[in-house]
């Protein structure tokens, strides 16, 4: 007996050191907290980032926006495009080892529709309770309530939860309490620790059903900080492996000088707007909105303050077929004055304008100060406010609380132009941070709905182009730039490729550690 104990004690340190020597742990900073990890509630970039690592969907997206198999190995679309049948991989299993079955897909969708938050708005009117049926243990059929052409593109947003595990912990809120802090998914990473204010750590599941390639990332530590000096000192001390995409140009420059780092770039479908509240004076006047767009110094913003790509309308040009090739907006203060002269505020000075940006984000503050200076020259009195992100999501819920102008990034949550239009401009999305324009325009709604209803791609793109023209004519926003994502990454880390679906490029299963 005693000998066995000694033997065990003798072996333990060996085993521990063997386990410690190999792992590749990376540290990534995010600029905001993880709001939720419940797949029925995810909405912003950190939520999706957590979800992309902790959960799997039936399908995933490749860099070109094409659907690729994940939990489902293949799928068939019915000839009338009214139903889609998914065939789940025979070896697909959850993190607890139980197999992924059709009933889990049915439960995940039903739960999503019932809670009706996060990605649920993608399926409003498309999927109804009972729309999804299990044909057999590994086959599941989606019967669409109406033709919805972007449906397949939205499938990756359905993250599949382990129905047995969630039902066992359902409580009286469909497991919302349980899934707020636990993971019941099939994703490649398991949740190791999560402290809301400071960060989250996820750990590689070695038994992940799709397997792992060379040099897998064993542990990812997300550290929440939007303080540039902290990011720089973490990089200098060797703690940071990969920066967020929201650092200031100075930080990228500073990190590029450190021998350990490389800067990776990728032009994304994320657009940066000055969202103009169309229901609040004075931006309820189209001439005032045009004046603001004309008083925007696009070259300084996308050249000096935050280097980015061209954005000439509401839709980024990555959606090549649907994109309307419109001229770049001009920076012309005289023309801006002329627009004010045409508005209901002609002859007035000190027209009050509220302007919000995300606090402690250096470039947003700089853009705010630039806009304030230019707008003041044409006759506005701009009140700048720096608000924390959770405050912005809150003020976006009421039209009278939404500022005249807000600096907001928006990227597609699924790879279809519909994602850009529906979430920002459709009446049904009003009251979210993505649609601080408060358009509520029946014509716009109809165009978005029409595009959804047609299966003909050419017809759809025609509608999208007309819609872009209409939004540009109405000056829904000032279209600043598309985001060129930059990350400072350790030279040993590889795998960042932009994907036109929010945060799916931060699924660390695709990354690898190239040094020994």
């Amino acid at each position: 007996m005693r000998r066995t104990v000694c033997l065990a004690l003798g072996l333990l340190p060996l085993a521990a050191s063997a386990a410690l020597a190999a792992p590749h742990t990376i540290t990534v900073n995010t600029v905001q907290i993880f709001g939720t990890i419940d797949p029925a509630k995810i909405s912003d970039y950190t939520d999706y980032m957590a979800s992309a690592n902790l959960y799997d969907g039936l399908a995933n997206v490749d860099p070109k926006g094409q659907l690729v198999p994940e939990l489902a190995e293949k799928w068939d679309v019915s000839p009338d495009a009214a139903s889609v049948t998914f065939h789940i991989r025979p070896d697909a299993k959850f993190q607890d080892g139980s197999p992924v079955q059709a009933e889990d897909v049915v439960y995940s969708v039903e739960r999503l529709l019932k809670i009706n938050q996060g990605p649920a708005n993608l399926f409003a009117g498309v999927l109804k309770p009972g729309s999804v049926e299990a044909i057999d243990a590994k086959t599941v059929k989606f019967n669409l309530a109406k033709t919805f052409s972007p449906f397949l593109a939205t499938v990756p947003a359905i993250r599949i939860v382990n129905s047995k595990l969630v039902k066992a912990n359902a409580g009286n809120d469909d497991g919302q309490t349980y899934l707020a802090t636990h993971v019941a998914g099939a994703g490649p990473y398991t949740l190791k620790s999560w402290d809301r204010g400071t960060g989250m750590t996820v750990e590689r599941d070695p038994n992940y059903y799709r397997g792992w390639g060379e040099g897998p990332i064993d542990e990812v530590r997300f550290v929440i900080t939007n303080d540039e000096a902290t990011v720089r000192s973490m990089a200098a001390s060797g703690e940071l492996t990969m920066s967020s995409q929201y650092q200031s140009p100075d930080t990228y420059d500073a990190l590029a000088k450190m021998p350990r780092f490389k800067i990776v770039k990728g032009e994304t479908s994320v657009a940066f707007y000055l969202k103009l509240n169309s229901k609040l004076a004075p931006t309820d006047d189209a001439h005032i909105r045009k004046a603001i767009a004309l008083a925007t110094d696009y070259d300084t913003i996308k050249g000096t303050i935050l280097p980015g790509g061209d954005l000439t309308g509401p839709l980024p040009k990555t959606f090549a077929e649907a994109h309307l090739d419109s001229p770049q907006s001009k920076f012309d203060l005289e023309a801006a004055k002329a627009e004010i002269a045409k508005s209901g505020y002609a002859g007035k000075t000190d027209i009050p304008l509220s302007f919000d940006y995300v606090s402690a984000t250096k470039f947003e503050e700089e853009i705010g100060l630039l806009m304030q200076s230019n707008l003041q020259q044409v006759g506005f009195k701009v009140t700048l406010s720096a608000e924390p992100w959770n405050r912005i999501t809150e003020i976006a819920s009421k039209v009278e609380m939404t500022p005249n102008v807000t600096e907001v990034f928006f990227g597609p949550t699924y790879p279809s132009p519909d994602s850009m239009f529906y979430a920002q401009y459709h009446s049904k999305s009003a009251g979210t941070w993505a649609s601080m324009e408060w358009l509520k325009n029946p014509e716009v709604d109809k165009m978005i709905d029409d595009a959804r209803a047609t299966g003909d791609a050419a017809e759809q793109n025609k509608i999208y182009k007309a819609l872009q023209q209409k939004l540009i004519d109405d000056q829904s926003d000032a279209y600043l730039e598309t985001q060129i994502v930059r990350h400072a990454m350790d030279k040993c880390l590889d795998g960042y490729v932009p994907v036109p679906m929010q945060s799916f490029d931060y699924a660390f299963h695709k990354y690898k550690w190239t040094c020994s």
Binding site: S248, E366, L369, T383
Partner: protein
Amino acid sequence: MSELAAAPARPQVSIAYQNWHRFSRNPTAVIGSVIVTVVVLTAVLAPWIAPHPDHVGSIVNFRARHLPPSAQYWFGTDNVGRDIFTRVLFGYRVSLLLAAVVLAFAVPLGAALGLIAGYFGGWAEIVIMRLTDIALAIPPLVMALAVTAVLTPNLTHAMLAIAALWWTWHTRLIFSITRTLRAQEFVEAAEILGASRFHILFRELLPNCASAILVKTSLDFGFVILIGAALSYLGLGVQPPTPDLGTMVASGADFLPDRWWESMLPGAAILFVALGFNLLGDGLRDLYDVESVR
């Protein structure tokens, strides 16, 4: 008395002259008063003496951003190309104004409560002094953060919260002085002559506390400016583009250590003014020999 003996040639020296004489022999007091005078003058005269007075308003110049200190920009420029020296001079206005507002509220209130508690004693003393103890137990910075969490987060609300707690120190000080004074003959004499309570409180007792209040207030100026800077550093700043020293330090800290001037020089400006008021307060304390003011 030794001062009188030191100036035998002028037997008619006024009290003011004696005070000045003693004051001018005290190097801390002189340095402190020079600093305070310089700061107050620059704050008042900022629009005329600042090299780039337009940089206080809504102006950006991205071609001149992040410039190091030079003959044109003494303290360098910030991240949108504004002259930091100019903004520091105007930042003093905000700091001094806020300190003046807080103390204009806190000092009279604190002194009045201290006089009442010290002179009347009894229930007045119990109620006022226990309230003071409670208020003293709340850290001003925490109170300011709590108040701004409820109201909109800006510096005005934060300073209101500070003012709501700051009177306590004056109450304690004046209470202890008044309690010793109330047994003295001049108070009794006034009472026997039938002077009103108002007269006794504000004509007899208050003038005898004046030196203590003056010393305490000049020391307070430095502390309140520091707390105001701490609060605006924490993000409870004034409306942009209004310059504010704490906000400038916070905003410049993002560019440390390479662009040290953007946070270090406004920080040095805070140090300068806080030091000035502290030296002045120390000097006044030595002058009036007020032991009770720490």
